[in-house]
């Protein structure tokens, strides 16, 4: 009916433009027969020209086509919601998730994570993550944190972890650092109990007391398909780290003072984070390894332009002094990797003294309006030095790296970041998830 009305209207339209008017004097009648149909003729089922002009783009669309039924089924049957509900118990706020680690020098890793309570926004939480890599490496951590109502909401936290790294790339401690590396197998167990001392409601300051037990075994490493370096051997020019070829147990005591005045935990625009930490450790096996380490770090955020154009600056310094004998490897200053000197290999520089700094410019690139999740880009420049003592550190060359990164952020928390760092030794790609800064 509507279409019939439409046709009538077309006739009306054309009639209105072709108004019937009185005959004009002197004009000769032209009655030539006229017929028409202005409906376009149907095209062929497949229009070759149109298709050819769309190549190679059409192949790209074709390549994605297999995803269509999966996406549509997921939406139609709310598969994502079912999966989420399957691994999440809303009343207990428990969630589990598979984990795939792609950016690891030891090869791809698979594992799982389990969370009880909101891991990002709550101090009351239980979380665990286990990852196994193709070369046999294992990494696992667990955290139980609880706010104590009887202590004005102060937090007590118990962390435990076990790791086995067959191919830790060891470049030697400062004087040995020639850029040549060897392999060490590093196995460790950590148990850390931390108690928050200052009332969390009083100010931006936090004070933590911690006690820890650490077990370490360092032996020659194992070359793998992803790591062709040789294992460390006596006489190869490297000084073995403290505790090498020994099974050692370390009790540890620490004190840490933090200050955090950031406006947001995710897309931070202003504020500062500062920390001072002192740790004392000594092995129980009589190997003569142990020491005192002190660390300080200041991070500062400053908006340079409106709408999340921010400069991030960080400076940190650390020293480690042996109480007797030598320092254990885990007490040393370690630069290179995800957080410092990002253009270098992980823990590329080891020393007793060291400092590091970062200048990073971050700017928002995109925000998904419904969820508040978005991307920021970052340009960074890192620098740092390590040395056997303060004088050697200052005399050693300043290492530097620069690069760019992409950060996946929510306004409340940082979801992860992908970084590409350049240094005189090459290019490093690193990925971090759920980090703080």
């Amino acid at each position: 009916m509507t279409l019939l009305a439409a046709l009538l209207l077309v006739s009306t339209q054309t009639s209105s433009t072709a108004t019937v008017t009185p005959p004009l004097e002197g004009l000769v009648l032209d009655e030539s027969p006229l017929t028409t149909s202005i409906r376009p003729e149907p095209g062929s089922e497949v229009e070759i020209g149109r298709t050819l002009l769309d190549i190679p783009g059409a192949f790209i669309e074709l390549a994605f086509m297999p995803l269509q039924p999966l996406v549509e089924l997921s939406e139609r049957y709310q598969v994502h919601q079912r999966l989420f509900d399957l691994i999440t118990n809303d009343e207990l706020t428990f969630a589990a998730s598979p984990v795939i680690e792609v950016f690891s020098s030891s090869g791809i890793g698979f594992g799982g994570a389990a969370l009880y309570n909101d891991p990002l926004l709550s101090s009351d939480r239980v979380s665990a993550i286990v990852i196994g890599r193709v070369n046999g490496d294992i990494s696992s951590t667990g955290v139980i944190a609880h706010r104590l109502p009887s202590m004005s909401g102060r937090t007590i936290k118990l962390e435990g972890g076990y790791y086995l790294n067959h191919d830790f790339r060891y470049y030697g401690v400062d004087p040995d650092n020639t850029g040549v590396r060897t392999l060490i197998e590093d196995e460790g167990v950590d148990v850390v109990l931390t108690l928050q001392v200052l009332n969390p409601g009083d100010s931006d300051f936090r004070l933590y007391l911690s006690g820890a037990y650490r077990h370490r075994e360092l032996v020659p490493g194992t070359p793998t398909a992803t790591s062709l370096d040789l294992p460390i051997t006596p006489g190869d020019g490297f000084t073995a780290p403290g505790g090498f070829n020994q099974s050692l147990d370390y009790p540890e005591a620490g004190l840490r003072l933090e200050f955090d005045s950031r406006d947001s935990g995710g897309r931070t625009t202003t504020g500062a984070v500062a920390s001072v930490e002192g740790v004392f450790t000594r092995d129980l096996q009589g190997a003569g390894t142990g020491g005192l380490q002190g660390t300080t770090q200041l991070s500062f955020f400053a908006p340079v332009l409106p709408l999340h154009r921010v400069v991030f600056m960080q400076f940190g310094a650390k020293f480690a002094a042996p109480i007797q004998g030598t320092l254990p490897l885990h007490n040393l200053v370690r630069l290179g990797g995800q957080h410092t000197l990002r253009g270098y290999d992980t823990e590329r520089f080891l020393g007793r003294f060291g400092w590091w700094s970062t200048f990073e410019y971050r700017y928002k690139v995109f925000e998904e309006t419904d969820t508040g999740i978005g991307f920021s880009a970052a340009l960074f420049f890192d620098a740092g030095q390590v040395g056997e003592d303060f004088g050697r550190m200052m005399m050693s060359p300043v290492r530097w790296s620069a690069g760019l990164g992409l950060r996946l952020e929510h306004s409340l928390f940082l979801l992860g970041r992908l970084q590409l760092g350049f240094s005189p030794e090459g290019i490093q790609v690193s990925v971090g998830l759920g980090e703080l800064l």
Binding site: L3, T14, T19, G26
Partner: protein, 558 residues
Amino acid sequence: MRGLVILLLLTSCAAEQTWRRAPHDRVYQHVPPPIEHPLPPPRHVVYEWWQAASRGAIEPLAHGLSPRTALELLIEREEAGDLNHFGQVVGSTWFEPRLGARTMSTEAVAKGNALRPPAPGALLVLGGKLSGATPGMVVEDSTGARFVVKFDPPGFPEMSSAAEVIVSRALHAAGWFVPENYLYDIRVDSLTLAPGATTRGEYNEEVPLTSTMLRALIANVNPRKDGTVRAMLSRFIPGKIIGAGSFRTRHHDDPNEALWPTDRRSMRGLGLFYNWMNNIDGRDSSTIATWIASPSDPRLGHIEHYLIDFGDSLGGAGYRAKFPGEGYELRVDWTGIASQFFSLGFYYHYWLPVRRAPFRAVGFFESEIYVPEKWRPSIPNPSFEAMTVRDRYWAGSLIARFTPEMITALVAEAKFSEHGAAQFVAETLRARQEKILGWAFAPVLPLDDPRVDGSVLSLTDLAAYAGVVPGGLRTLSWRAYWDNGLLTAGEIEDSREIAVDLGPALARFNTDRGAVVDADPFVTVRFIDPTRPELGVNVHLRVDGKRLVPVGLDRDLE
């Protein structure tokens, strides 16, 4: 290849203008009735996620690598195919000419097709979708007529229902097919739950609809103290719904869909309407294809295409107010992202100063920052992107016909309760209309609607009609040609309606030469604005018997 085809077409057109060439019938422009065919099977449902991913990311990537994209930068896109010789869209299963084809009163525009409101009294709830962000129901009134019920988002009373009414009535007046939309105050105690009523559960599965669910819904959609809740009732679209239409591809189950949607001026030009009304929902799923059975043979019928879901218009976005930026850039705007990334953050979106309207029911709807050429729907719409300058002019020529009185009447149909909200929306629509017409009319001389009374040829200056002539009215020149020679010429003061009398020249010529039309039955009258002489409008007239009949109009582009 395509460019070659276009060149060949242009060459052939140059040899013989289409308006001169048969076919012409007694009324010169004739559209045959649609081809009748059996009911096709239901179409595949393309879900929202896939469409958003496909349109938002995959297709832009594919288009970027296709020769077609490069060609279209070099060669002007082919003009649409659903046109008559006046450049007007002809009736089809997508569009029927209304406002530009006949006189419509302000009331007719405002009421649109909403002439059969639901019968007062109890409403029987047949089912619905009560969970999710956009809850709704299906109800039946006392006469058995069925309606889809939509509610305003929590916290934003009147926002989406007002948008639905205003935009659907405007689109109907312009010529598109839309559902009959009514504002309706539902008395909560007038709702009766039908036996066996169902709704959708958390996993989109069908579950029984209970009175508890119904009460929970009503409590969340801005109920009033008097026990009523404002709702938008949309009468069921006639026929058998077979699925959604498409803004990109043809459906081969429809023999009347000879043209690709991207080759239809009605679909290309729709983008300008959505631009004006700030309707960012240009998804395929905001169209419906329905099979209308033939009255003479119910086994046969044809498919008509309806536009639906206008809650994303004006300052609303369906279940919420628009966010800043919506309507100004795509939801995933690769150009904007690249600009931000490569400028190191020094690039700022031009729309950042946009502020929320001072009315809760309006949201983000404004005209000051708005730039028509920069407007974008939430995901790319291939038909909108195919819009040429002529398509834009055509859509603009329809928008120009909405007088201030009509706009005010349209907005009044939305029944805003906030004092000043209706005036704000009407003024914003008028301001956006002025900007959009400035853009649409800039590359043309907007003379249209040729008609002849005796020997007097009249046209409407749509810019003057809409009051958007830059620099004020001017003097136009005109020249009449016959048989490749000048018949007569003159000048005329521009106004909303201009008229030139060809009678004296024709009479003098006939006296001198005898029979005029033996050699050439066509007369062409060319109008130009002397300040921009490159922009002319040619009206082609045919001597038909003892009458002059307009048979075509073409216009130059800047």
